[in-house]
């Protein structure tokens, strides 16, 4: 999501006015909503939450400082630890899965095939659907009495068992199946745009040198598409941390607490458990995770440009 730089030579507007504050007044008035949202809602809201995560807030926000108590409680809470573990497994699997499937589909669609539009339409439509719809559909398909398991058993394979949503050990993979179904279309589209941006001469050169198709992809095309992969990773990463609706619709965090995720922990403590301090601390930790994902990206994206 790099931001294109425009020239600064457009700042001359309204130069006749003497007072600096009133110069370019219309533009300043027009951007007031943005300034309010950026400064008060985003920046102010974030600082407010971080500040109150060090307090003893319970039912209502309080300013009684307790230092890192909320964080200590957070990291000793089993529910939070399960949430973090789930997010880790889901995150890694979904990053790898989305990138591999997304790139493979894009590469297949790029092979000058017939019906590309039809395939692309089918692969992308889940992305238009909400996580609630996604979660509910897969809840039914993975329902042992109704969905896949039942159908396979009726076909004669009576010992077939595939019931991830009721098995605490693999419930996260049930979520993963649904998450991949919903999200890979987007990455496929981005990858396809990247593939289309690659010069055809590269392919010709590879063919002249007798390099096979798969090898060309792995050795030449993928390294060339590094920026596209980085963008995809950031998009996937930012989405994973927010994972919430899907869990609510598909498993409600169950069985037990085995499919809890951090965003759900925040919501429960803030709006269900009258435990604001925990919610603030947990959401601050979520923000930290995003920062940890973003800093290497920002370094690669912007630091690299300066060097180049």
């Amino acid at each position: 999501m790099a931001v294109a730089e425009t020239g600064t030579h457009r700042t001359h507007a309204g130069a006749r006015r003497p007072n600096r504050l009133f110069r370019n007044l219309n533009a300043k008035i027009a951007t007031l909503p943005m300034i309010f949202i950026a400064v008060v809602v985003f920046l102010g809201g974030t600082l407010w939450t971080v500040f109150y995560s060090f307090t003893k807030s319970g039912l209502l926000p309080s300013t009684k400082f307790v230092g890192l108590d909320q964080y200590e409680r957070l990291w000793t809470s089993r529910k939070w630890l399960v949430s973090i573990e789930n997010l880790g497994i889901f995150g890694v699997c979904s990053m790898i899965g989305t990138l591999v499937i997304g790139f493979t589909l894009a590469a297949l669609l790029d092979r000058k095939i017939r019906g590309e539009g039809v395939f692309r339409t089918i692969f992308l439509y889940p992305f238009a659907l909400s996580f609630i719809v996604t979660g509910l559909v897969w809840q039914w398909i993975l329902n042992p009495a109704l969905g896949l398991q039942n159908v396979v058993r009726e076909m004669g394979w009576t010992s077939f068992t595939f019931d991830p949503l009721n098995n605490p050990d693999i419930v996260i993979f049930g979520l993963l199946i649904a998450g991949l179904w919903q999200g890979t279309g987007l990455i496929m589209c981005i990858m396809l745009a990247g593939l289309r941006g690659i010069d055809e001469d590269i392919w010709k050169a590879a063919r002249v040198d007798g390099i096979g198709t798969v090898k060309t992809y792995i050795r030449i095309i993928i390294p060339m598409m590094r920026p596209v992969f980085v963008t995809s990773l950031v998009l996937i990463g930012a989405g994973i941390v927010k994972l919430y609706d899907l869990v609510v619709a598909q498993t409600s965090g169950g069985p037990g607490i085995s499919s809890e995720v951090p965003a759900k922990y925040v919501m429960t403590s803030m709006f269900g458990g009258q435990n604001l301090g925990q919610g603030f601390a947990a959401s601050t930790m979520m923000m930290l995770m995003v920062v940890i994902i973003l800093i290497p990206w920002a370094y690669l994206e912007f630091g690299g440009k300066k060097r180049g």
Partner: protein, 303 residues
């Protein structure tokens, strides 16, 4: 099916190797894989449509992949008019109309404000404008959860907490980054001479925007509307927090209907309700085709 090929500027046409004979081995692998994956992607939609047209006895007996023996539209009618959330049994129609009442003002206001902001940021830059824009874009990456409670307090102070108006404001705020970026990047590609010529002719801030910029930017307005319509319609988190049960948007009501624990699960009604909720974004998707792809690629592929 709509054709969604040839989307952003970069996509000029397939660039892979030259196709070989129609039934070569590699062709079979390519089409075979695509076909299998397409089945996986299409299956859930198929299951929902098929099941929503069956009666309950047939669902209990048969398998969910079989087409209905007797087509009935009763589940759809029931989902729309009588499905229950708690003690309220007036169907999903209430959620639908709530969503419509949230959607229309949210989309109109946020697209107008974002477009004017993008315009000011490209053509009327002032000292500090980039700083605010950077804060806005960083804010887009921060999880919503961090800002939720302060927003609750702000809305409560303004007397808007729990009302549709409050939710509209929240959608407005969180839709700002992506839409402003979209408009800003698009306007940056408009030739500067055009702007200068209009300035020389004495046109001001609003005149240039309405008479020159807007007419030549219709596609990007459509893209922005698409992003907002699907995003706001599919929202669950904000709907659950910032409205009250009577005003829940469709996604929240759907989840409450389907995941309620009381009573026998009527899968056909539930799936009809789910399809009804997915219908608006699906229609937007199938009708807008390449513009939808452009919208999701816009924030991503730039730079």
């Amino acid at each position: 099916m709509v054709d969604i090929s040839s989307t952003p500027a970069a996509m000029t046409g397939p660039r892979g190797a030259r196709p070989k004979k129609a039934f070569s081995r590699s062709n079979i692998i390519v089409y075979g894989t695509l076909f299998v994956v397409a089945v996986y992607y299409a299956l859930p939609l198929y299951v929902m449509i098929v099941t929503s047209l069956k009666g309950m006895p047939e669902i209990r007996m048969g398998n969910i992949f079989a087409p209905p023996m007797e087509v009935t539209f009763q589940p759809w009618v029931k989902a729309w008019q009588e499905a229950c959330t708690g003690i309220n049994c007036d169907g999903l129609s209430r959620g639908f109309w709530n969503s419509v009442r949230i959607l229309i003002p949210s989309v109109l206001i946020s697209v107008s404000i974002a477009s004017v902001t993008g315009y000011a940021l490209t053509m009327w830059r002032f000292k500090g404008s980039e700083v605010f824009f950077t804060i806005l874009m960083i804010g887009a990456f921060i999880p919503y959860q961090v800002m939720l409670y302060p927003i609750v307090i702000m809305l409560r102070e303004a007397g808007l907490y729990g009302s549709l108006g409050g939710l509209v404001l929240v959608h407005l705020a969180f839709g700002m980054p992506i839409n402003t970026l979209l408009f800003r990047n698009y306007f940056a590609s408009i030739p500067e001479e055009l702007f200068k010529a209009a300035r020389v002719d004495g046109a001001g801030f609003w005149a240039i925007f309405v008479k020159i910029i807007m007419p030549m930017s219709l596609p990007i307005f459509v893209v922005s509307v698409i992003i907002q319509v699907t995003g706001i319609w599919n929202d669950f988190l904000f709907g659950v927090i910032f409205t009250s049960p009577d005003l829940y948007p469709m996604t929240v009501q759907l989840n409450n209907i389907v995941n309620s624990v009381q009573g026998v699960k009527e899968y056909n009604v539930n799936m009809a309700a789910t399809l009804l909720t997915g219908l608006v974004p699906l229609i937007v998707y199938f009708a807008s085709g390449k513009l939808f792809v452009r919208g999701i690629a816009a924030g991503a592929v730039k730079g």
